[in-house]
């Protein structure tokens, strides 16, 4: 609750700070704002389910945990953005302002208890992201990405709204509890087809946002075209918020598991296949990470398919592990791509990483740990993420889906290790890569947390 108010106010303040001559104040102030929002988030920890805004927003520990992940990710991303000083065209105040506003949307998506709230959250988040995607104004790819994202996103929003309308028609309410009541009391004989159709359309809208196959086609182009810092934002925060919303929808409101589980199962398998197999044939590291993001959506969908007791922890832990590793990977990519350019453009291909272990051993180590974590190798947080996902599938007794996931994990190792091989075993030029100290702290922090949660997942368990 507090973060929503604070972030809205801070967003406006940041826009006004943009009028001041000194642009250097923006980064520290944004970090301060995010830290305050993060702190305020946990004021309501353990106070049980609280309802706000005419019961449209629910605040419980689940909400707060997801908020925490989103805010920590945002803090780290803002910290490595470096104040957008490189580009003369950039408008740092607007970027930071939009980032803060989009977080408000993410937090609404996480905590919604009313479908209208979900819609508002999705729109606030998406509109801010459309703008940020196109923020590299003079770059054609960035423009293309923004347009693509906007058109496809608007289309998906249409599905979302249409689904909500049908559900309202069937149940007479937007309230999750009311919908749940309707679903559990539904007479099997007189099935409400409007309700089913509404649910499916709603799912399509949400699955688009988390880039699950077959609604993923925008993802590689948009991720590649957007400035890397906003790609990081999209692939961590939008995804986490999207899965929090999906989990709440399916867990709290649609108590007709037998109807939708096979839909989600098929989409999960399809997403795993598309994401992993698509990633193998990429030459660009950034594009590979886009496909890898799709594949991780597939793993998270497995947890949703199972929807058992461990699912909640699985989704929270997996989102956290995935966010940390993704931020570290994109962070290293930004540094490397900036130093090595092709025709004036940042080089985001695998070759850019050749010889990284010699040029900067720390960056190579950070990158390696994040790749190992994304691949789910033990001693990293990613391993336990996969562990919780598989246990929730095992609890439901759908081992076949875990077997598919395992096969796809092997494929994953293939493309994650390509960059490790480049940085350790291939010879590159002798450019020194400079890292600002603050940047370095964030990367080391992400790596440290990845290993810490990998060694002792119990720490995290106690927090929840």
């Amino acid at each position: 609750m507090y973060p929503i108010i604070l972030l809205s106010v801070f967003g406006v303040v940041t826009l006004f700070l943009g009028f001041s001559k000194s642009k250097n104040i923006l980064l520290p102030s944004t970090l301060l704002f995010l830290a305050i929002a993060l702190g305020s988030n946990f004021i309501e920890w353990g106070k049980g389910p609280l309802l706000y805004f005419y019961d449209m927003l629910r605040v419980d520990n689940l909400t707060l945990a997801f908020n925490g992940i989103v805010l920590i990710s945002a803090f780290m991303i803002a910290a490595i953005s470096g104040g957008f000083q490189d580009n003369a065209d950039s408008e740092p105040a607007e970027y930071y302002g939009l980032m803060l506003f989009s977080l408000v949307g993410a937090i609404m998506m996480i905590g919604f208890d009313h479908l209208i709230m979900l819609f508002i959250g999705v729109e606030i988040l998406s509109v801010a992201m459309y703008v940020l995607t196109g923020s590299n104004k003079r770059n054609l790819r960035s423009n293309e990405a923004a347009l693509k994202y906007f058109l496809m996103g608007a289309f998906a929003t249409g599905f979302l709204l249409f689904g909500m309308t049908l559900i309202y028609g069937a149940t007479g309410s937007f309230q999750l509890t009311a919908i749940q009541g309707f679903a559990s009391n539904m007479n099997p004989a007189s099935q409400s087809y409007i309700f089913y159709a509404g649910l499916l359309l709603l799912l399509i809208g949400m699955l688009f946002k988390v880039s699950a196959a077959p609604f993923h086609f925008w993802t590689p182009d948009v991720y590649e075209g957007a400035p890397t810092i906003f790609t990081t934002f999209m692939s961590t925060i939008v995804k986490t918020a999207g899965f929090a919303a999906l989990f709440r929808l399916l867990n709290h409101s649609f108590a007709i598991y037998n109807f939708w589980w096979i839909v989600i199962a098929v989409i999960a398998v399809l997403t795993l296949l598309v994401g992993n197999i698509g990633a193998t044939s990429q030459n660009s590291f950034k594009r590979m990470l886009a496909y890898s993001g799709i594949s991780h959506a597939g793993y998270l969908l497995i947890a949703l398919t199972a929807l058992t007791k461990p699912t909640q922890n699985a989704i929270i832990f997996y989102s956290l592990a995935y966010s940390l590793s993704t931020i570290a990977a994109f962070g290293v990519l930004m540094l490397v791509a900036k130093e090595k350019t092709i025709e004036g453009q940042p080089n985001e291909r695998y070759e850019a990483f050749n010889g990284l272990a010699k040029q900067n051993p720390l960056l190579a180590f950070v990158l390696t740990v994040s790749m190992l974590s994304l691949a789910g190798i033990p001693l990293t947080a990613g391993f336990w993420g996969k562990f919780f996902i598989f246990t929730s599938a095992a609890e439901r007794g759908i081992m076949w889906i875990a077997v598919i996931a395992v096969l796809m994990s092997t494929v994953g190792i293939y493309y994650y290790f390509r960059v490790i091989i480049s940085s350790y075993f291939k010879e590159g030029d002798t450019v020194r890569i400079r890292v600002a100290p603050f940047y370095q702290i964030i990367l080391v922090l992400a790596t440290f947390l990845t290993i810490l949660f990998g060694l002792a997942p119990g720490i995290f368990e106690k927090l929840i």
Binding site: L372, I377, P378, L379, F383, F387, F390, T391, A394, E395, M399, A402, V403, V406, S409, T410, I413, Y414, F417, I421, Y424, F425, K426, A456, P457, G458, E461, K462
Partner: protein
Amino acid sequence: MLTLLLILLPIAAGVITLLAGERMAKQLALVGGLAGLGLAIFTWLQFDPAAGSQFGFKYAWLTSGGISFAAGIDGISMLLVLLTTFLTPLIILSAFKNEYKNPTAFYSLILFMEAALIGVFTATDAFLFYLFFEAALIPVYFLAAIWGGENRIKVTFKFFIYTIFGSLFMFVALVYLYYQTPGAHTSEISAFYQLQLSPAAQGYVFWAFFIAFAIKMPLFPFHTWQPDTYTESPTAATMLLSGIMLKMGVYGLIRLLLPIVPLGMEQWGFLAMILSVIGIIYGSIIAIQQSDMKTLIAYSSFAHVGLMAAGVFSSSLNGLQGALIQMLAHGINVIGLFFIVDIIYSRTKTRYLDQLGGITQSTPHLSVYFMILLLGSVALPLTNGFVGEFLLLSSVFQYKGWLGAVAGLTIILGSVYMLRLFQKSMFGPKSKWVEGFQDLTASERAVLLPLIVMVFWIGIYPSTFLKITEPAVTQLLQLVNN
């Protein structure tokens, strides 16, 4: 607590080596390895074979899930811990004569590997076992991929993906088993022993385990990664892979596959046995054809491990005891042989049998050491290979007479490829490659001498080691037969 120390000591030594700087790296690593050996011998002196799992520790890891950080040492673990700690300092010492770039990383990776291997052999929690099983792969992957031969990147990548592929199946099986445990679930291996699974489920779990361990060992037809990886890796990594890591697979069969899915064994054990026996013959025949010495020994190792697996699949006392003693013997022989190949290679710059010959004229010491290790490997009586091979063949023979007869060909084929190796490299006219060949140096002898002592010790008085494992194996078989 001793178990925890055994795992932590190599890690600490590895970190110190990493921090100490290049000049001291070798020496510190050796001291670390020897300290590990000392600690293992100290543990052995206090070890009571009949008392089951001892020196254990257990810390809650995932409190809600009943998953704990638990390890302990029983007879089977004790033997393998001794093997690991005995071979590691020798592997470190054997690398002394080569100048590696970035030695701190090289030696500390060997020590990290040792820690992970000890972890595998002592873990009493299934997920901890899995964790170490995977973690052992990472140091050896980097060892092979950084310091290896020309084709190293491709070859080690194949090795890595192949083995991870296998162990992920084991992971799914472990998650499944974990959910079958009653009550609030636990992942203790001993709790898995108590499970009453349906025959169909046991069949699935059997195959999941089989694929994981068969790739690791490797068994026919999952061996295609092995010869290339052994050949391309630096000798220290090859020694780690063949001397110790291969034993993780056999150990996994004994520790997990046999006692957890006895009904699965009943259904599929015969097929697994056939695959193992095919591997013995197939590996031997290919070994006869090889001209690269390293590849030849790699295939011989593949043939030997087939026999160990066959012994385990016979699930008899002789088979298991034979497999365990053979693991010890094979570790010692194969490391010695790889070291001798490395000595020859470092002096002549070739490993090809056609280009070698006549080395024995100028090297009395090398010839004797080589011959003894070689005879151990072909299982001559009074050498270490004989005890294990005898027990293993007798167990296969009891299982099915004709299978025993086929597997017995290993004795003949083994002497063919081994004696061919010796004859082509050591005897005959002196080739131009071996001009000015120096005999063994003192540090090389320091590696080979302990190996030779062990060859005879195990060959002449094997009960020192058989005694360690016998109660544990008997107990295990009781579980299987119930």
